[in-house]
């Protein structure tokens, strides 16, 4: 069922001009994070109390490294989408809202890239 007029559909995308993209990305990253989170918890339990050398082996193991990177990307993407909704809902001062949205986006990029770099540098042994 579609309640939109053909003109409304053609103009589409709503007031945020992004349509359902945000909603879908949030769900897709959520679904991806279900198995990744379960892996992460099990992996971190097995790595509890690791000394430095064991931690290097653990993070640098190719499969773990790939899963860590997938987890990091999905987590920070999902976190940004979620924080965006919270900010848009509760911050009613427009300049403040836009500022916070930019800061959270910048922060997740910096944190995400730093974490991926850390994992890769351990895997390739450049640390």
């Amino acid at each position: 069922m579609n309640l939109q007029t053909p003109l409304g559909r053609a103009r589409g995308l709503g007031s945020a001009k992004s349509g359902t993209k945000h909603w879908w990305a949030q769900r897709v990253t959520a679904i991806a994070l279900i198995p990744l989170t379960i892996w992460f918890v099990v992996a971190m339990i097995s790595a509890t109390g690791n000394d430095y050398n064991n931690a290097q082996q653990f993070i640098g193991n190719p499969i773990n490294a790939i899963l860590f990177i997938l987890l990091i990307v999905a987590t920070f993407h999902h976190a940004q989408l979620g924080l965006q909704v919270v900010i848009e809902d509760y911050v009613h001062n427009k300049p403040m809202e836009i500022g916070l949205l930019i800061i959270t986006k910048g922060t997740v990029i910096v944190l995400g890239l730093s974490s991926v770099f850390a994992v890769l540098s351990i895997t390739f042994g450049v640390a």
Binding site: T37, I45, G49, G82, L83, V86, L111
Partner: protein
């Protein structure tokens, strides 16, 4: 403009807290907490990439009493957000909106998140040999 002073609904403070509404706001709170909690993972990974001294410092901080309390809170927030997130995905597919189902799945989320947190921590202590 008049629009700026317009009262916004819903006036949440006039409602008695219910399981469904409390779980709903908890989903947001745990989501924000997890976003902040990622700092711990980022720090741990960078410390592990920076050398034995940095790694040992990170391990000592995370293993301290305060570190463990934070990690326990983070574990619970993770399982809560995971379990309630699955509940949300079911709602997104149009299922589970009946009142008794919403309450049943709500309780399932509470019980499973507590049980999973306890199991995870017991497993962690077993791996570490009880220390």
């Amino acid at each position: 403009m008049a629009i700026d002073n317009r009262p916004l609904s819903p006036h949440l403070q006039v409602y008695k807290p219910q399981l469904t509404s409390v779980l709903s706001i908890l989903h947001r709170i745990t989501g924000v907490a997890l976003a902040i909690g990622t700092l711990l993972l980022v720090w741990w990974l960078i410390a592990a990439a920076s050398g034995p001294d940095y790694y040992d410092t990170a391990q000592r901080c995370i293993g301290s009493t305060i570190g463990r309390i934070l990690l326990l809170g983070w574990t619970y927030a993770l399982f809560y957000h995971l379990a309630n997130g699955i509940r949300h995905l079911a709602w997104d597919s149009g299922r589970g909106f009946e009142l008794n189902t919403a309450y049943l799945t709500g309780w399932l989320v509470i019980i499973s998140s507590i049980v999973l947190t306890i199991v995870t921590w017991i497993a962690g202590y077993v791996v570490m040999g009880g220390s």
